[in-house]
């Protein structure tokens, strides 16, 4: 199992435990534990199997089981993304492995990136979202819980399978798709009418950073991607869970806690997102410095969306307030001293 995937699995397990303990009273803790545990087991299986071929088959089962969970979207709508992801990944693998001109292997690389996007639920394959759907049945389960480990496994195993020239195409596709997701997610999280959709787009924007980090094939890029993924699991996902009650009650507040949460979501210092952004900018200067300018400009798009999401948290009380404090503390600790996270992943 890649060490990055193992580390993210541990963080995902911690996020699940957090969700069970600090979930709003309206949520069913038992359902969270059972469905989250099943999702975690499936994700662990994706990381644990020795080949990408087996990981695709596990992904197919996990996707079908997730589609069967009771939700407000139809079974057919929820089954499509994982099956399309597996189909594109399988076609990509086939084209990468055949004896053929380089061009075919490059098409294979495109298939692998497109399959990963479909599996995680980022552009150009955003999963349809229903505001009232339970978190465990919604596309956020893929974006914020299963997706991080899935992406790490796919990227690291695919990079090993690709010939050199196709590897370049793979990285370039990831960077291009990452920029698209950052820009689209940042603007949509700010401008969309629905608060749940705004949270979803904020996940998409973070995934843009991850894809750029993976695409920049230098150590700093991989480090940045890992820190953003850790931030997704240990920051954005639990904050979204806590905000769901305030969103349902249509409560928005402008207290200091909302500003602090907005700062964490925007990736400002001293939270973990800040270190990730610095590493990403440094990685881009090592590859092609004008890219750093574009990235820095696109990163500004996080600000208005994050302020909005911070307000949507409402005013957490009791157990939820404790949960928010814990999330912020963990994110500050990881932002100030990210070395243990990186060392555990051997980066």
């Amino acid at each position: 199992m890649p060490p990055e995937a193992l580390e993210l699995l541990v963080i995902a397990a911690a996020a699940l435990a957090f969700a069970v303990v600090f979930a709003p009273a309206t949520a069913s803790r038992r359902a969270l534990l059972v469905r989250g545990g099943a999702g975690l087991a499936g994700t662990a299986a994706i990381a644990a199997v020795p080949t990408l071929d087996l990981a695709l088959l596990v992904l197919l089962v996990l996707g079908a089981l997730h589609a069967a969970v009771a939700g407000t979207r139809s079974f057919a709508v929820r089954l499509r993304p994982p099956v399309i992801a597996v189909a594109m990944l399988a076609l990509g693998l086939l084209l990468v492995r055949v004896e053929a001109p380089d061009l075919v292997a490059r098409f294979g690389a495109v298939g692998l990136v497109a399959g990963m996007a479909a599996g995680v639920g980022v552009l150009p394959y955003l999963h349809p979202i229903e505001p009232d759907e339970a978190l465990t049945a919604s596309p956020v389960a893929w974006l914020g819980f299963i997706g991080p480990v899935l992406a790490v496994v796919l990227v690291f195993r695919a990079q090993g399978a690709l010939p050199i020239q196709a590897g370049g195409v793979f990285g370039g596709m990831l960077v291009g798709l990452g920029l698209l997701n950052m820009a689209w997610g940042g603007v949509a999280a700010w401008r969309t009418a629905d608060e749940v959709a705004a949270w979803r787009y904020s996940f998409v924007a973070d995934w843009g950073l991850v894809l750029c980090g993976f695409g920049l094939t230098v150590a700093d890029g991989q480090r940045a991607a890992l820190l953003v993924l850790a931030g997704l699991l240990a920051g954005r996902l639990p904050l979204y869970l806590i905000s769901r009650q305030a969103i349902r009650e249509k409560t928005t507040t402008r207290r200091p806690i909302n500003l602090v949460v907005a700062a964490a979501l925007a990736g400002s210092a001293p939270f973990v997102g800040f270190g990730a952004r610095i590493l990403l900018l440094r990685a881009s200067t090592q590859i092609y410095w004008p890219l750093a300018l574009v990235l820095a400009l696109v990163m500004l798009l996080w600000l208005p969306g994050s302020l909005r999401l911070g307000r949507s948290l409402g005013q957490p009380r009791g157990r939820q307030a404790l949960g928010v404090a814990l999330i912020l503390a963990v994110n500050v600790a990881a932002g100030l001293y990210p070395l243990p996270l990186l060392a555990a992943a051997r980066l």
């Binding site: 080949t51 071929d53 087996l54 695709l56 088959l57 596990v58 197919l60 089962v61 079908a64 089981l65 589609a67 069967a68 009771a70 939700g71 407000t72 979207r73 139809s74 079974f75 057919a76 709508v77 089954l79 499509r80 099956v83 399309i84 597996v86 189909a87 594109m88 399988a90 076609l91 693998l93 086939l94 492995r97 055949v98 004896e99 053929a100 001109p101 075919v104 229903e130 505001p131 009232d132 759907e133």
Partner: protein, 180 residues
Amino acid sequence: MIQPAAGIVVWLGASMVVVGDGRRGLAAGIALSTLGLAVLAFVNAGPVAAAAIAAGGVTAAARRSVTGPAGWEVLAPGSTPRLVLCIATALVAFWIADAVTAGPVASLRFALMTGIALSAARVLSTAEPAAQLSASAVVALCAASVGAIGSSQPGVWPYVVGGLVAALLGWIPTRSPIAA
């Protein structure tokens, strides 16, 4: 001649899944795809791999023959675009498998490309869970066989797991959406 025939049988099976709407038509599609893929697995990966694919595919087809919309419903009115898709996919896949790519397993390449592409198209184009799960079973069987491309001795585990996944997909409960 066995391998080219098996490749064409896989395409025929996937096409049946695309143009069929009733459970018998879908089950026949899975069974045909299974037959072709099992023959290709036997030639490329040995009897254990072929047995795994055959067992998984037959179980999936048997399960499908008793669940889903009744009847055959093959080439029902309005299915002409799907038929055209099947023929066009076969032509493109044949060109890629035979002329663009090289190597000893052209039939397997053709079978996998048509099987995966047609099944994915079916999943995208229908809202009927029986058809979607049938197409997903074909995707699982094809994805299990991808390991044989570019490898002289593919392991049997992908075939075993692929067969299991294809069989399991028949038992996935398909609930209607609940009100918010």
